[in-house]
Symmetry: C2
Subunit: 253 residues, 2 copies
Amino acid sequence: MLEVYTWEPNANSGKPLLMLKEKGVEFAYHYIDLGRREQHSRAYLELNPNGTVPTVIHDGRVLTESSPTLEYLDAALEGPALRPRDPYLLWRMRWWIRFLDRHFCPALAMFGGAGASRAMPVQDAETIERQVKDIPIPERRRVWRLIMAKQVPEAALEESSRRIGAGIRLFEQALAEHPYLAGSEFSLADIVAMITVYAMPVIRPEEVNDRKTPRYMDWFRRCHARPGTRAAFALGRGWVGGRVAEARKLLGV
Amino acid sequence: MLEVYTWEPNANSGKPLLMLKEKGVEFAYHYIDLGRREQHSRAYLELNPNGTVPTVIHDGRVLTESSPTLEYLDAALEGPALRPRDPYLLWRMRWWIRFLDRHFCPALAMFGGAGASRAMPVQDAETIERQVKDIPIPERRRVWRLIMAKQVPEAALEESSRRIGAGIRLFEQALAEHPYLAGSEFSLADIVAMITVYAMPVIRPEEVNDRKTPRYMDWFRRCHARPGTRAAFALGRGWVGGRVAEARKLLGV
């Protein structure tokens, strides 16, 4: 049995969930509650010493880093192929995954971090250090220290906002060329994008709407209507539900 | 004819050069002189509006972003396959490329930037703005502004140094499991790594040496001895030559 250790169907956590629902492959879903910081628990760190989600186990092999893992699963499992066969379209798929992983998702995560920061109680430095000490990756430790200390820099939010705006224009442009990000078929690029931006029409209504980004809106409608997408979001235990429902209502799907 | 627009056989610029020499495929090498900032010239920006190197043209298709481009070229061209066929080893190859692209290369580039910064004349803000205004990507513009203003932050250098140290330990660990990064065969992971770290034994002699990292040193010797590697470095017009020669001398190859 395929084992998936991850949080909600959201961003990196959600990539294997959405993909496996699209492929129609059964798996055991081990919920790792990021709210309770279970990804830094001793048991989880034994599985994945970096304390990142998701971790996938297939045939006794432990796979981490979600985008390379998706390519592995697409090659190793039954079900519809989620990668184009044409080398150029494959390049395009990987170009998009790279853009999303390096630019777009981190920019969105910056806003997620700022929101988490605002919601936090004021804590003294000692309490913060006690909480961050189990985080194995130093760069993640630093980010969490800033979030807990309510010190997410304004300049970082401005730059993230700019990147999101640039990304939205890029989506619209790409979807004017092809119905999906890497050609005429739904692919891993759409999976990585959709699980990350599914609520964008709700979050950025002035920039993402039928007048300014008709192709992007059409892509959202097609993706939100897919049975695989619906099944993946149905796995959520609270975090994604409200935003998915709002997005569907706004899109009329 | 395959067209490659790029700078020296070094880091991202060098990836297609090393790969094409390994595959034994002929190509036209259009040298883009980063020292003269030709990547921001009008002619080059028409080809690649982001002003990044390399840009590869194959069958009339313009390919950017070096790592996805390498996978495309491996699928589209003749010559020895540079990707393992086993899905798990492919995952491992992509895991390494991702790690190098996201963590290791940017950390090394930070030192490159600091070196460039030290070598620069003191310039006033207006002169700096005049120079950075053609850089199309805002995040690159910001980095260059810091470099030109001699303001590369000390904390960024410290963090980069830590990442390089952690990366060196990861290389040694991976090469204890397999002779190459993604198994028993030389692959794109080794190409991306080698073109980036080729001078590491010279740059970090206290950490990278036969006593502390015997497997990594052995990998350097095997990679530096490859005809493809030698042919790729021979394409350099000055920048890499000295460091390659020093590394070979130290390694005795």
